[in-house]
Amino acid sequence: MVVPVLTARFGVPGAHTLEVARRHGVYADLGRVLALDPGAVITEVTASGLRGRGGAGFPTGAKWGFVPPPERRGNRPVHLLVNADESEPGTFKDRVLLWHDPHRVIEGTLVAARALGCHRAWIYLRGEFKFLQARLDAALAEARAARLVGPDVLGSGFDCEIATLRGAGAYICGEESGLIESVEGKKGMPRIKPPYPAVVGAFGDPTVVQNVETLAAVPWILEHGAAAYRAFGTPASPGTKLFSVSGHVRRPGVYELPLGTPFPELLQAHAGGLGPGRTLQAVIPGGSSVPVLTADEAMGATLDYEDMARLGTFLGSGGVIVLDDTADLVAALANLTRFYAHESCGQCTPCREGCGWMARIAARVAAGRGTVEDLATLEDLARALPGRTICAFGDAAALPVLSFLARFRSAFEARVQP
């Protein structure tokens, strides 16, 4: 039985209110942590091996360490932007986490802000999360009244304002520099890097953009120590992770598992397995942007960064989409290409044009009106994307196309005319 790091208060009635959250341990260790040297906080987070849970998997402590100290940033302020733009198809963990445990996310934000020397943080929610913004604003108001947010947090002398912001419908605002542009009041078009946000981010100031789930793990790590966190997971993938399971399973949902858990355990023991008489056909393991796996590959996989890399895919956001033998994989790819064509921000030509063409061709193939040549064109378009765009959206749009065609070629060839 695993100690839940992230889901301890799921199902606790009223855990979104301050009183119940406090009774169940939220903010209990905050006073001690705020008294620590900020460098010691970063050292502990680095030692835990925590990696960003939004999709990129970047080491969190290292990211915080990139923010220049005051003497090297001309005393510019540091901004912390909590990425609650959850938009990756197949991913719904941050929504559940924010709904059930908003105070733990606020606590994680306070700890990160203290470590970074940040006095003003924003929680950026996707536009469609209006119902979550109301929940979070209520939690923030309670926290402010209890002197957990605002001036002199818990009498520590540390000031930290936290407010929510809401996007307005744009997948690309989940990309960190797109999110920064949106926070500045502009179109969410990603920026060329370098400079990285840790040096030049929002309003030209050093900025850290961090996923909700990542920050929610931080208070537990500080309270129990990096070694306790590393007791879960593998050496290269320490800790636990939330997996969002959707598609053809009997119990879809959000499940917290130690990294390194075999995929069949997630599928059978947590997600309830497939429907009666069904067999597994394919699994998208980390959100719609990562390469799809065959049934055999998935059933032999463990859910961690290194095993996903071995299989040529990514752990991503942990959004697991399960497709059984009834799934029309050609239609599934057409659906995803339409998503990326809809969401491309349009500033890079290979992405703007390529996503549109891929969507039109994939739709034609799915409708049975495609040709063998269409499959070659699809692959050409997808190959022209990775590495040729400002942000990783180009890769995200191309990888489903390339992996579906590589792993399930016969399904596509059976659908086209010669």
Partner: protein
Amino acid sequence: MSAWPDDLAPEAASILASAPTPCAATLPLLWLVQDQRGWIPDEALGWVVAATGQTLAQLEAVLSFYTMFRRAPAGRWVLEVCRTLSCELAGAPRLLDHLQARLGVGIGETTPDGAFTLLAVECLAACGSGPVLHVNGVPYERVTPERADDILTALCEGRLPERPEADAWSYPS
């Protein structure tokens, strides 16, 4: 022409006071207008331009970049059906067909009485409990055609139905 109307002015001033730069107030100000007016009328562009320092061209670009800002009035109830992969697997096409037939409108259209606008949208981050339907931003999950009928009945009575699924994170079939 660029002065905020009396009913919005206090909240607009408060948004501007807490924004790190005037330009950063753009999205919150646009949300203020849309939440209060139901859409963003042309006259509001003048208010936001004057407040934020954006040019009209920049503001028009922002408005067209984000899918949720409306430049024309919508129905009293805006129905958004997610159609991305997990919801498609869970039956979103059937839900969309059903709503079109029940309401007698196509996707993107508003019923003649102004009661309902039907939209098909991309992933709403509730992939485990599809098909997902947002009603004026309130999420309803696992919406079968039968449940959609119940929801429509409640909306016709002027109320949003209960959401017994709100606290779930696992969805046994």
